[in-house]
């Protein structure tokens, strides 16, 4: 769920934007330090891909709908900081073009979605795959759900800090909705990684930045 402008107060906006913009500029520095010509079009087309994926909604029961994000998937292909960088830009454009989120709430939305999926998700994956190397699909699925949990936890916290909702009473409905969308996202990520492994394994060897 992307928070539109107008729903977060100044202190929450200040904290989330500071963390998010610092991570964005740090990611930009890391990318430019190691970048090679081959990586530039992949970054651009991956941004177009996740933008397209997130613009397609699926209907769910009770009149609700979800859309996929592709954030964790892109971090498994390009690495955590490249994925965060392009996700941040994609979220910025989504707020302008699709009205998913806002300009001032970009910091909060990118922490909830991009930071939790791309950076936390990637390092959890690295940690777990070392312990359980034969359970890759299961690990990817679980981490996608886990990042959806972290994202919804942060979302509830931000709205609670801004005095819009009560944390105790809203956490359960928010988390339930995000766990459903997280499960779809998990299936999507597992499927895509296996699809690429079969048809273009070279893609998984791209340097992770």
């Amino acid at each position: 769920m992307h928070i539109p402008d107008g729903f977060l107060d100044t202190k929450t906006l200040f904290i989330t934007n500071t963390v998010s913009y610092l991570t964005f500029f740090y990611s930009g520095r890391k990318i430019l330090k190691k970048i090679e010509a081959e990586r530039v079009p992949i970054l651009g087309l991956s941004t177009a891909f996740i933008f397209l994926i997130s613009s397609i909604s699926f209907p769910l029961p009770f009149g609700t709908s979800i859309h996929l994000l592709g954030s964790f998937f892109i971090s498994l292909i390009l690495g955590p900081f490249s994925a965060f960088f392009i996700n941040f830009l994609s979220l910025f454009l989504q707020s302008l073009l699709l009205s998913h989120g806002g300009i001032l709430t970009l910091g909060a939305n990118s922490i909830n979605i991009a930071f939790s999926s791309c950076i936390l998700g990637f390092y959890f994956y690295k940690f777990l795959i070392r312990i359980l190397p034969n359970f890759e699909n299961f690990i990817i699925f679980i981490i996608t759900i886990f990042t959806a949990f972290i994202g919804s936890f942060l979302l509830t916290l931000e709205l609670n800090f801004s005095g819009k909702i009560s944390f105790q009473k809203s956490f359960l409905p928010i988390i339930s909705f995000h766990l459903v969308s997280g499960s779809f996202e998990g299936l999507f990520t597992v499927f895509l990684i296996n699809f690429i492994k079969k048809l273009k394994p070279k893609l998984l060897e791209v340097e992770k930045i």
Partner: protein
């Protein structure tokens, strides 16, 4: 294939179209901050709405287009409304946030629909890592519609073969789309290099 390009009103001869994109962008950010910082006041919101409506009118943006864009945020508003009720919060807080949110979106619509995409991309050349950001934006603008067309073609081909468009077929389409994007990126790189593009331009 028909696309609804976001900057289609930027080519009209209107008031906002004539202003510099950077000035419009800075004014938009200032306006969004103002809405958050100032204490809620219905008279202020009413005056701002009037000014924005006049700007919409003199910039020749159809009111119906504006309404269609505003409707896009209703799912989020519905969820927050439900959660505010559940939290026993004062609903006036929710309605003030709703007004701020609609006014913010109004500002974004005015900025975006009166700015040509190439001018929009140029704004970001002046920020840190601007060359990389504007390159990614231009890739996105150039290839989003191409990828969308490819997705529609693949969808039609699936339907013509009698396959149902469910979540599984969506997964297959996404996988194919990603692989095609990657293959396209290899061709794009060759084209860029043949036109004299150099990685040093990004640094």
């Amino acid at each position: 294939m028909k696309h609804h390009f976001i900057d289609r009103f930027a080519y009209e001869r209107g008031f906002l179209q004539a202003l510099s994109p950077i000035i419009k962008f800075i004014t938009l950010i200032f306006f969004l901050f103002l809405l958050i910082i100032l204490s809620p006041n219905l008279y202020f919101y009413f005056t701002i709405s009037l000014i924005l409506l006049i700007l919409l009118f003199i910039s020749k943006i159809p009111f119906f287009y504006f309404l269609k864009r505003i409707i896009l945020i209703t799912p989020f508003l519905a969820v927050i409304f439900f959660l505010s009720l559940l939290s026993h919060k004062n609903l006036s807080q929710f309605f003030l946030a709703l007004i701020r949110s609609v006014l913010s979106l109004f500002g974004v619509i005015l900025f975006l629909s009166t700015t040509k995409t190439e001018e929009f991309i140029k704004i970001f050349e002046k920020v840190p890592y601007g060359n990389l950001i504007s390159l990614i934006f231009s890739f996105l603008y150039r290839y989003f519609y191409i990828l969308e067309d490819e997705l529609q073609k693949m969808k039609r081909s699936m339907i013509s073969k009698g396959k149902k468009l469910d979540f599984k077929s969506y997964l297959i389409l996404s996988g194919l789309l990603f692989l095609r994007s990657y293959e396209r990126s290899e061709r794009v790189l060759k084209a860029m290099i043949s036109k004299g593009w150099n990685i040093e331009r990004l640094k």
